[in-house]
């Protein structure tokens, strides 16, 4: 007993190291939001992204076969859709010219690759291999060919952290493409999303596609986001919780597009950030 409680046991080198380590951890917790640490964090992500490049083939191998199947199906569908759209585009152009409509500008897209999945599984963050140097700005929308992914939460010179729609950080205003019924996309838990605020009598069916409305200045209008997967048996008094599923598979995303703002917006955004 005496030996166990001896001075050497209590104040050994292991306790000293432990105390220092806990102290450093607590200091980081207290001052973790300091600008200098955030800069160090961004630089750290940049360095890690360089070393992550050789590891990219591992997730790619897992998703390659599946992606191939999906892309084949897409190619078939798109070929059919393309011919229909070609006709529609010609008709649309003709009609626009007739009524002197403004030409709608397409989104400037920047292609990017997912190089990391940090944080807990439910956190919904991914690291991309593009950053401020490539023109990415905070809150820029991130999409994949299949649908909406999320928005840029933090930027480093060569990387950025994307907060996906898998999380409670933000909601997205969506509208049902078929009936223009609007609602807010909210994440509830793993693999469960709802379209909140849809009135009880609204015309919403299983399989309906929801697209962004463009409200809020983050996500441009018209991005395909989710599909209605389940309708409530017993709706609430005024609203019904429409369950939806994202079109993009958020766990296996590899290649995405960042919608970069127009040049003037980008300059304003960069100045506000105080960055490059």
């Amino acid at each position: 007993m005496v030996r166990v409680l001896s001075r050497r046991r209590i104040f050994g080198i292991d306790w000293l190291v432990f105390g220092i380590a806990v102290g450093i951890s607590l200091l980081f917790l207290l001052f973790g939001r300091a600008p200098a640490l955030q800069v160090a964090r961004q630089e750290g992500r940049d360095i890690a992204s360089f070393f992550l490049q050789p590891f990219r083939f591992i997730p790619e191998m897992f998703t390659l076969w599946h992606d191939n199947q999906v892309l084949r199906e897409h190619a078939m569908r798109l070929a059919a859709e393309n011919s229909r759209l070609r006709e529609a585009a010609l008709e649309n152009e003709r009609l626009r010219g007739m009524i002197d409509f403004r030409k709608v500008a397409s989104w400037p897209l920047l292609s990017a690759e997912v190089i990391g999945h940090p944080g807990p599984g439910i956190g919904g963050g991914v690291i991309l291999n593009v950053g401020a140097r490539q023109g990415v700005t905070r809150n820029a929308a991130v999409i994949s060919p299949r649908g909406l992914i999320g928005k840029v939460a933090r930027i480093a010179p060569h990387t950025c952290l994307v907060q996906t729609i898998r999380g409670k950080s933000f909601g997205v205003s969506l509208t049902i493409e078929r009936t223009r019924v609007q609602g807010i996309l909210k994440w509830l838990e793993a693999d469960v999303w709802i379209l909140d605020g849809v009135p009880t009598g609204a015309d919403v069916n299983l399989g309906d596609l929801a697209i962004t409305t463009g409200q809020g200045d983050v996500f441009p209008a018209g991005i395909r986001a989710v599909v209605v997967s389940e309708l409530p048996d017993e709706p609430r008094e005024q609203f019904k919780d429409v369950r939806v599923q994202p079109l993009a598979n958020l766990q296996t995303i590899e290649e995405v597009f960042v919608i970069i703002p127009e040049e003037e917006d980008a300059i304003i955004e960069t100045n506000e950030e105080g960055g490059e």
Binding site: A21, F28, L29, A40, R45, H117, P120, A190, Q251
Partner: protein, 156 residues
């Protein structure tokens, strides 16, 4: 230079954790590949090695994440130290120290991480921990058993 192979393992696991994190996630449960490393350091080399490994691995994970810096660092530091201390000086011997320590360490880490994470995303801590934290800890333990079975058997 005896620490060089250990450092290499830690870096490798860290990179695998970052690159495979998305694929390994099942229903919100995500394993922590660096936790088995920290527990191994504690069991094999003692409390000091466990503490330092936990601190550095935790810091690296925190730097890559979006949550507060220091959370995983604190959790893994305590896990590494406790494992080393219990194994070296504890009054009892466990039948399956690797699996038991891994599970206990995993649960402790998830409690700390989800406590701070729940404050960030505005969900109740209990719901998050019981739904994802426990599953993540078991998931980590299972991967850890597969992964470190042979080296631990040789060492102890």
């Amino acid at each position: 230079m005896f620490w060089l192979p250990r450092f290499g393992w830690a870096v490798l696991l860290f990179l695998v954790q970052l690159s495979l994190g998305g694929i390994l996630t099942i229903g919100g449960a995500k394993p922590d590949l660096l936790l088995p490393f920290v527990v191994y350091q504690g069991l094999r080399y003692g409390a000091v090695a466990g503490t330092i490994s936990g601190m550095l691995c935790g810091l690296a994970l925190d730097m890559m994440g979006s949550g507060p810096i220091g959370v995983t660092m604190l959790a893994l530091t305590i896990v590494g130290f406790t494992v080393g201390k219990l194994w070296q000086e504890g009054p009892f011997r466990l039948h399956w120290p690797w699996a038991t320590m891994l599970l206990a360490g995993g649960l402790f880490e998830q409690i700390i991480v989800f406590y701070f994470h729940s404050r960030d995303i505005g969900l109740p801590f209990g719901e998050l921990f019981f739904r994802y934290g426990i599953a993540s800890a078991f998931y980590t333990m299972i991967l850890g058993i597969i992964w470190f079975l042979s080296p631990l058997y040789k060492s102890k």
